[in-house]
Subunit: 415 residues, 2 copies
Amino acid sequence: MPLSAFLEPHILHQQLAHMACIGTDMLSPGRTRLALTDADKLGRDQLVAWLRELDLTIHIDAVGNIYGILEPDPLNSHLPVFLIGSHIDTVIEAGAYDGCYGVLAGIAVLRALHAAGTTPPRPVGVVAFSNEEGVRFQPDMLGSLAVAGGLSVDVVHALQATDSASYGTELARIGYAGTLIPGSIPIHEYIELHIEQGPILATLGTPIGAVHTLQGISWQRVTITGTANHAGTTPLQLRHDPAVVAAQVIADLRAYAGATESTLATVGTFTLAPNAINVIPHTATFTVDLRDPDESALLHAEAHLQSLLQQYAISEGVSVHCDVLARFSPVIFAAELVHTIQQVAAMQGIACRSMVSGAGHDAQMIARIAPSAMIFVPSREGISHSPAEHTDPAHLEAGLRVLCDVVASRLGIAI
Amino acid sequence: MPLSAFLEPHILHQQLAHMACIGTDMLSPGRTRLALTDADKLGRDQLVAWLRELDLTIHIDAVGNIYGILEPDPLNSHLPVFLIGSHIDTVIEAGAYDGCYGVLAGIAVLRALHAAGTTPPRPVGVVAFSNEEGVRFQPDMLGSLAVAGGLSVDVVHALQATDSASYGTELARIGYAGTLIPGSIPIHEYIELHIEQGPILATLGTPIGAVHTLQGISWQRVTITGTANHAGTTPLQLRHDPAVVAAQVIADLRAYAGATESTLATVGTFTLAPNAINVIPHTATFTVDLRDPDESALLHAEAHLQSLLQQYAISEGVSVHCDVLARFSPVIFAAELVHTIQQVAAMQGIACRSMVSGAGHDAQMIARIAPSAMIFVPSREGISHSPAEHTDPAHLEAGLRVLCDVVASRLGIAI
């Protein structure tokens, strides 16, 4: 009998609905549980209560990551933990599933292990990482980055929130400043179940995605500096107009990305100064978000952006400056875990697509220190970071079943 | 002897320097005399004092336009006024010459008429029009528009400032709410002397411009509406990205304008919403400033903008909305006045270029009701609306001399 036969999916639905109410108010849609706020504390308190119901061993580390661990036979308690996780913090006016689904599905799997009466051959845990969204504190994916050794506790505690509180002060205030050093719980393998936050599975009607790669991300801020002048009296040939250069680059960058069929290019922010209708601007500032699952293709896109900027800047007589805001190489997930996801889906008779993650996730950080992979379920219309975020209940349950039997398979549990 | 032999140019320089100090403070560069502010009141009070020194008849109309009129022989006092004018309100952190030069040069010409001991054959006046700049109250060129019959007193008085005071209240507060109906002083001919605010005369090294046309202006706000989505998870072919469409249109519009050699196209404002680095925007909003001295060419440019918007909007699956913010057809100035300017410059041995005005001026409003023309002098590097605005003293004097003898010629004064 598969471990998934012991699941009680209605509890997952109840817990998702319960968590979705924490951080709501009558004045704004969705829910808002920014990291280390009062709402985040209420969400954490509820999570810990659910972990206690299963008699799990609870650890809080020094950046506030919460672990609930099902202990094995005492002889095996020294072994690295098989970890299932995600996060429960949200963006402003968020949906109900981003993050919470992976954490609460992890609890459901531990409950199934309880119900099946099996003692796992190694510790099995669920983790909720702190500040994944990065809205209140930068960088995002902070908790998992600290676990992977990418941020020291001192640096994290000194971070200033957008509302200027410090991370350390806020973490202590909400009662989640643990003493455990992040990363001191060794991880055997890591699985994260998550909504896709993109349209691919929903468009194809495929319930499960086996994520083999998390695409690389390059964020740059481009500042083009020209000369402000009168819109009515300055002949075109005497202009040094940064808005025109920006437009030429953005238009050509879209054409470039379209031709590659793998690179995504997005300009999400754009400002002009002085921003007056009848003044040629002296400065155009915009951001470029480039993504590609292949590092060499991402490097090529970055180089192409530079060449477009130089070409048009020379032609218009303006200067260009670029700041790198973020740069992550693509993450290739553990092939054996991806293979298990595909096998389990096939055994369960559920269609499964091998795919790339377009968004960033805690799994990309944990992949630095342990074999990791992700399971995706469809997001209706690809909408996320919005109260309109939705995944069909049947798809939520399909993802949970696949996760559960993947865990059983990786642990070698036969019931 | 020409009338210009009676000029005292040093008084013009002194008065320009004096006026340039009103509205200054230690914290900001340049001077700021926004319409109907305390600083504008101080500027007006000084102007009226200078008008009184010449025993001129002073009129204030109901929108605050200030007239100083040199009365002729009583037999001719019923004749329409030969009017010289411009404005003394400024933009924020303005230069010293935009507007003030034309008003104070007008006073200098009236002083020369005094000094020559001539009685003009009809009233000769100087006027300072209210709220030419349009920074605090829209529309700009308000005072001259009211004189031309384009705005009623009631409508003007009800206008709200950007700081939400009303025009009528502010005008009364500073003591310049006259009772004269705007337009009730008949105008024989109107001449406006102004700095070019563009680079043409300075680039050519030509001291005088005889302005035959004021180019037409078309201002539109373009709003492109697409669909916000995740920058990392949304394939290009599923995007409805208004930023890309805006960039394509702006880049192509520059190419179009460059090919016409007469149309100017400027995008001075641009915003994206929600303006987040990793979110495909749902809305792009930008303004387009189109100018051309020929109405049919301006209409063609407007039509081309529409066709670009439609073409790219269909391709990307976004919708487009345009609001007309301002639309003025080109103004052709009175040929006989332009001819007199050229003749006088030739007689004085000063190089003179027949040219188009790129900026808007009060003369374009007065041209609706009386023969009008403008005289330009060079602006260093074409800079205006800036503390760096500068015209060489020799050019200021050349412009004054031409203005003076143009007035004498039009009045048929022989000394």
